[in-house]
Every structure is written in structure tokens, then in C-alpha cells.
């Protein structure tokens, strides 16, 4: 189960097509992270740029380590 605000927001995005569409086309990582924080705030979730960067790094690590 989601354990913090960012994880809960991630589940919210995965369940909400409109939110996905707002984020999918953003190619620039910094712009993307800002938008995630902004949308999170709009939907009542409290997390900051560092939280999202940590989540991106964790995702990147799990992607790289997927065959280990």
C-alpha cells in the first residue's frame, strides 16, 4: 500500500487518465518534476521536488537493476 504522499499521488496518477495526459508529453526532467509537485499540491498531496527526485532515482535504479 502507498506509504507516503508521493506514493499515494503516484497511485492517483495511475488511476486518472487526465493526470497522465498532463504529464506524458513533458520531456524535460526538471519541468516534469515541477509539474508533478504542482499537480500533487492541487490534489491535496504534500511532497516536494526532493521527494520526486528521490522517486525518479529509485525508479531509474530499479530499471537498471531489473535483470539482477
Amino acid at each position: 500500500m502507498p506509504t507516503n504522499d508521493f506514493d499515494q499521488f503516484r497511485q492517483c496518477v495511475l488511476a486518472t487518465l487526465a493526470l497522465q495526459e498532463e504529464l506524458r508529453e513533458i520531456e524535460d526532467h526538471d519541468e516534469f518534476i515541477q509539474k508533478v509537485v504542482e499537480l500533487g499540491g492541487d490534489h491535496g498531496f504534500s511532497f516536494n521536488v526532493e521527494d520526486v527526485k528521490n522517486a525518479v532515482n529509485a525508479s531509474r535504479r530499479s530499471w537498471i537493476e531489473r535483470w539482477i
Binding site: 495511475l14 504529464l23 531509474r60
Partner: protein, 333 residues
């Protein structure tokens, strides 16, 4: 795991990894939208999608059963043709030519298909029908139309998946398939230059029966490689294909793709499609920035004695059999 996902939520998403977490079989999905699989290998296209921050950060994780739910809801295109091969014999050239056309979905050596084939063939708790369903589910999930232009669907398997050709073809009895091969010396020279994962002992499970890992590791590389390739040849030759299978020699490429292979798969190409596919053959399939050249002579000239002996002992008898089957089919046509 995403417990609330429904098949409808997965439109535009692709299962890129199937894995076990304890006893649970899980599926990792990434959003690809309308992007086509045009890179030489499935994994290359997924890697590009993962450069997008959304693709990296937001991934669905579902149970394996979700593939079954998706199959019921949206079974995907029925495959038009399967490509099996002996490795290093032009299969990527074939898949790249097919992928050059917007109407084709081409899935090339996809790790989730390989994983599911291996689960299906090794899970003793699974019924025979269950095994067939597993294959239909993953192949159906990867054969979803995502641009609207797709009408044909081709799968190039990993070469070692040929060991399970009977199971794959039982799941898809009406799908025509080809087996690509090449003079064994030329394959072996290529493998000795850069080893494919299947020719490294233990890297792809146990391919050669009655040979344990310790024995395999102590063998000369040429010998083990030849034994692996021989196992693949043996599997395809033992399988009785009826009229669904066809053997294609590397020497027939690239013309065979728009010729005998197209005919065997029951497809016709327009003049425009033909030209598009032909222009693909100007470049090296796995490294498109390089020009494609038939390197048979160069490979034959550079073969050392160990390669020649291993190829002669383990592979030439199978090569002769495949040539005989191919020539007999050509004579009948």
C-alpha cells in the same frame, strides 16, 4: 501492486517485464502510447521510452492474471507469422524489414515473451491448457493495436525459444513460421567474436541436457556453442511442421523477405512497401548506422580449426538436413 487496474486502464501500456516476487508472478508495464517497435530489439524501444520522465516514474505493476483479463477484453492481433532462428543468420534483418512498415507490429526477442515461455514450459503446477493460455496472453498483450494502422503482427523469438517450438505452435496452430539458419561455420565465427547469451554456460538455463554447469564451463567455448546450436537444430527438425513451417537459409536474404517468406506468411506488399523494405536492407540490421554487407566469405576465411571441427562434428549433419528440407519444399512449390 496496482490492485484497481482494469484492462481498459492499460490502453497504450506494454508489459515489458514478467518476474517472480516470491511465489507471485508479476508484470511491469510501461506507457508507450502510439510509439512503434522499430528498433532492432524490443528492449531498445522500451529503453527509449524510459528516457521519458513519465515512463520512468509511472509504471503499472499488476498480477500475471491481468494479462488473462486483458486477453478476454482485447485479445490483440492474431500473429501473422513467427520467426525462429539459429542466431547470427539474418533474423534481425528480416524483422527490421518488416518493422519498416506502419501496418506491421514487429516484436523482436522480447524478454517478457521469453520469460513466459520458460514459465510455461517449466512450471509443474500449471496444466497444459494453462501453459497454452500463458503464451496466448503475453503474445496478445504485445499485439495490441496502438496507432490504428496495424493489420499484421510478427514475432521474432529468442533463438533458444525454438526448444519450445512445439508448445508455441500448439498455442497458435494456424500461424505460419519460418526457421532461419546459416552455414554453421559462419554462425560460429560470429559467436566466437561476440558470444550470444545462449552460448555462455548457465546464462539461459540448461539448454544442453545431460550436461551440468561444471562440465559446460570446462569445455572449449567452440564445443559448447556448437552443442547449443545443435540442440536448437534438433528441436526444429524433430518438430513436425506440416505446411506451417518453412526453412530459410541466410543466403536467400534479403530477397526472401518480399518473396518466399511473404508468400509463406500469406502477405502481399505494395510497390511502395517493397521499396521501403528494400531500403532497410542497405544498412546493418543491428547497427543501422553501418552499411549491410554479406560477410559470408570473410567469416569462412577467418574460421580457425576449433571452429571448423566443432561445426563439422555437431552442426553440419543438421545443416544438411535443413538444406534437404528447404530444397524439397522449393521443388514442391
Amino acid at each position: 501492486m496496482d490492485l484497481n487496474v482494469t484492462p481498459k486502464d492499460l490502453t497504450g501500456w506494454v508489459p515489458f517485464r514478467v518476474f517472480r516476487d516470491g511465489t507471485d508472478l508479476l508484470v511491469d508495464w510501461c506507457y508507450v502510447g502510439p510509439a512503434r517497435f522499430t528498433q532492432p530489439f524490443f528492449e531498445d524501444t522500451i529503453r527509449i521510452q524510459m528516457r521519458n520522465p513519465f515512463g520512468l516514474l509511472f509504471r503499472h505493476l499488476t498480477s500475471f492474471q491481468m494479462l488473462g483479463d486483458l486477453y478476454k477484453d482485447s485479445p490483440g492481433l492474431l500473429p501473422t507469422g513467427f520467426v525462429f532462428h539459429l542466431s547470427r543468420c539474418g533474423s534481425t534483418l528480416v524483422s527490421q524489414m518488416l518493422a519498416s512498415l506502419d501496418e506491421n507490429i514487429v516484436i523482436s526477442e522480447a524478454p517478457p515473451i521469453d520469460r513466459v515461455i520458460r514459465e510455461a514450459s517449466s512450471d509443474r503446477n500449471l496444466s497444459h491448457q494453462g501453459r497454452l493460455s500463458y503464451l496466448k496472453w503475453i503474445i496478445g498483450a504485445l499485439g495490441q493495436r496502438r496507432t490504428g494502422a496495424e493489420t499484421q503482427y510478427f514475432i521474432k523469438f529468442d533463438c533458444w525459444n525454438t526448444l519450445d517450438i512445439d508448445l508455441i505452435c500448439e498455442a497458435f496452430p494456424n500461424v505460419p513460421w519460418i526457421f532461419l539458419y546459416r552455414n554453421p561455420v559462419e554462425i560460429m565465427v560470429s559467436q566466437m567474436r561476440e558470444r550470444g547469451v545462449h552460448t555462455i554456460p548457465g546464462a539461459v538455463g540448461s539448454i544442453v541436457p545431460d550436461l551440468d554447469l561444471a562440465q559446460a564451463l570446462q569445455m572449449p567455448a567452440e564445443e559448447y556453442c556448437a552443442m547449443v546450436l545443435a540442440r536448437i537444430c534438433e528441436s526444429v527438425l524433430r518438430f513436425s511442421p506440416g505446411d506451417k513451417g518453412m526453412f530459410v537459409n541466410y543466403s536467400e536474404l534479403p530477397g526472401a523477405v518480399t518473396g518466399v517468406i511473404a508468400k509463406h506468411f500469406g502477405i502481399e506488399f505494395s510497390k511502395e512497401a517493397f521499396e521501403k523494405m528494400t531500403s532497410t536492407t542497405k544498412f546493418h540490421a543491428k547497427t543501422p548506422q553501418m552499411e549491410f554487407k554479406d560477410d559470408s566469405r570473410m567469416k569462412q576465411d577467418s574460421a580457425n580449426e576449433a571452429v571448423r571441427n566443432a561445426a563439422e562434428h555437431w552442426l553440419m549433419p543438421f545443416y544438411s538436413q535443413m538444406e534437404a528440407v528447404r530444397n524439397a519444399s522449393a521443388a514442391k512449390a
